[in-house]
């Protein structure tokens, strides 16, 4: 469905080029959920903004290949990209409070997207909006389409945003931390909803999060990103149960255990992610890594087939 090969994104700045994403490759199949984990600034959001063609910064340089159903997206004109956005690829953003234009009803906003891509009348578009709202379990959808975003709760708003994203049956759905801003109970409902939609629409889903708990709930396969590169990828079980990269291990260690004795202090990763202006020459996690050794001064490649990690440790051990 989606194939990304050697994606590199950099920005021209006063202090020279800054590389935000460095050689990222991944693919997602139909009805598969790919979880993308990493902390802020790891390049997860910007990689997928590139897939959407939503990087408008004139100083951005995007290289590599992004193929959707075999069609190359890099190099498409704005007009061609617009035809794909919202129809083939849809995106759900983090904060449902600000994701919809405050001055239009949600029905109007959903109908607007449908009518941007299909030749369909106003009434028919609104009728579709009602069906979509029903599908995402918004109670009383016939009235709900006349509501303004500020009249809905956070969970309902995120449902409306999801309904809008699904309005043209996209082949690929990108969800950028869609539950981060919600209450825990509402989070679970939204996750259920996304899983159900994946089943019904057979869409591929890329799920961006920094929450390993959400990954355990949702993902089929996982890729872990750190400072613009993929450090580990594999199936959910491989990543959660036998992590190979020290960064993945550290992320998992920072979750409190459900059973057994609780640690006095939660483990955290010492230090902070390196500045993109000043990346270490070798492995970018090396300065924070408890197992670093001489070879870490070189750049490790992502190796190991299906379950791959960019680390020299496994080779040494």
């Amino acid at each position: 469905m989606l194939e990304v090969k050697d994606l590199r994104i950099s920005f021209r700045t006063e202090h020279g080029r800054v590389r935000a994403v460095d050689g990222v490759s991944f693919d997602v199949a139909q009805s598969e959920i790919l979880g993308v984990v990493g902390e802020s600034g790891s390049g997860k959001t910007i990689s997928l903004m590139a897939v959407m063609g939503l990087i408008n910064d004139p100083n951005a340089v995007i290289e590599g290949s992004i193929k959707l159903r075999g069609r190359e997206l890099i190099g498409l004109s704005q007009r061609q990209m617009r035809g794909l956005r919202g129809r083939e690829i849809a995106m759900i953003f983090q904060d449902p409070m600000t994701a919809m234009t405050p001055v239009y009803t949600i029905g109007w906003q959903i109908a607007e997207q449908i009518r941007a891509h299909e030749k369909i009348g106003r009434r028919a578009a609104f009728a579709r909006a009602v069906d979509l709202l029903a599908e995402v379990n918004i109670p009383n959808p016939k009235e709900a389409i006349h509501r303004y975003p500020h009249q809905l709760s956070g969970g309902m708003r995120q449902r409306a945003v999801i309904a809008m994203a699904l309005s043209c049956h996209p082949a690929l759905l990108i969800a950028d931390e869609p539950t981060t801003a919600l209450d825990v109970t509402v989070q679970a409902q939204i996750l259920d909803l996304i899983r159900k939609l994946r089943r019904d629409h057979k869409s591929a889903v890329v799920f961006i999060t920094h929450d390993m708990g959400v990954i355990a709930e949702m993902a089929d396969r996982v890729m872990v990103m750190y400072s613009g590169r993929i450090v580990e990828r594999g199936t959910k079980a491989e990543i959660l149960l036998e992590p190979r990269h020290p960064y993945t291990k550290a992320l998992l260690d920072s979750i409190p255990p459900l059973e057994g004795e609780k640690p006095k202090r939660l483990r955290s990763i010492p230090g902070s992610p390196p500045s993109l202006f000043d990346l270490p020459k070798g492995c970018s996690f090396a300065p924070r890594c408890p197992w670093r050794f001489e070879r870490c001064a070189e750049k490790p490649a992502l190796e190991g087939g299906k379950h791959a990690a960019a680390c020299f440790l496994k080779a040494a051990s």
Partner: protein
């Protein structure tokens, strides 16, 4: 929504009532001065002062004075100027209103249309040469005082180049009523409109540009782009509507003030007998009843304009409706 409208207009009436009391007190209950002799004017005979005292009820309690004053203003409308003997004030003010309204409404149409075009164009081409030129022109427009620009316009259109093809259509200064001579009304007002509007076009364009650029950073703009909408639609349907709020606020304040007499300089330069000119003349010979009437009229207009702005808010932004 209807309730919000009714409430807003109720507030408006209440504020107007308060203003009438305040203005009355300032003019007639200021300690240390006899209002009767002030109304009668300089060098008035004792008989005139006595007549004023009787006619305005200055020998009676203050609420009776207020009542008489309001009756003279709004009900019998026979408030008389003593400086200009026997001159009825209310008809005089009412006569000037169409002049000022013609001037200000025409200018407002120009500055709203061109201010919006300016703001949208500058925001859409942000950072480019077009944007920078627009900002520079806007700044020049804001910096030219109306009395200077008006006189320059007159110099060109009335004298220097009046006989060339460019300005031969310009009629002599003065106001022609719309009902009698629509074409003359339009032609005499074109240059005053442009003169008055130029200042505001620059100002409004810059405000709108700044608001649009801010709105374009919002999350919902990213969503709108992700929906696959065209950049024009994102700008005009999603960013513009939320950006218009401060534009409308500014418009209400300026429009109210201008109709209330702040267009004085333009009126004087172009020989238009408007409210501003009337107030100015009344101030020159301390014609108290006229000054008070125009002050009340002006403040009422500011209040009315603000109420209308709030109505436009309600239309623009659904979040205000329930509040």
């Amino acid at each position: 929504m209807l309730l919000a409208l009714i409430r807003r207009f109720g507030q408006m009436i209440f504020v107007m009532f308060g203003i009438s009391i305040l203005v009355f007190l300032i003019f007639f209950a200021t300690p240390g001065a006899d209002p009767a002799s002030r109304i009668a004017g300089r060098n008035a005979s004792p008989e005139t002062i006595e007549a004023v005292r009787k006619s305005f009820g200055f020998d009676q309690p203050i609420w009776v004075q207020y009542y008489i004053m309001m009756k003279k203003l709004f009900i019998t409308q026979d408030l008389t100027s003593f400086v200009n003997r026997g001159w009825k004030v209310i008809p005089a003010v009412i006569d000037t209103i169409p002049v000022t309204l013609s001037l200000v409404i025409g200018a407002a149409v120009l500055w709203v249309i061109f201010g919006m075009l300016f703001g949208i164009l500058a925001a859409a081409t942000r950072g480019s040469i077009i944007d920078k030129l627009l900002i520079a022109f806007g700044l020049v427009g804001c910096a030219m005082p109306v009395y200077w620009l008006g006189e320059v316009m007159n110099l060109f259109s009335q004298s220097r180049y009046h006989d060339t093809w460019l300005f031969s259509w310009v009629p002599p200064l003065g106001y022609k009523p719309l009902s009698e001579d629509p074409e003359g009304w339009f032609l005499t007002l074109i240059i005053p409109w442009i003169t008055l509007a130029i200042l505001y076009i620059g100002l409004y364009g810059r405000v709108l540009r700044a608001n649009l650029i801010e709105a374009m950073q919002e999350d919902y703009i990213r969503t709108a782009r992700a929906k696959g909408l065209s950049e024009t639609r994102v700008l005009l349907r999603h960013a513009l509507r939320t950006s218009l709020i401060s534009f409308v606020t500014l418009f209400g304040l300026d429009f109210g003030a201008l109709v209330g007499g702040a267009a004085l300089l333009t009126e004087v330069v172009f020989g238009l007998q408007g409210v501003g000119k009337l107030t100015y003349d009344a101030l020159q010979n301390l014609d108290l009843p006229v000054i008070m009437t125009t002050v009340i009229y002006a403040s009422f207009f500011v209040v009315l304009a603000n109420a209308l702005v709030d109505v436009v808010y309600i239309l623009l932004d659904p979040r205000v409706r329930s509040a």
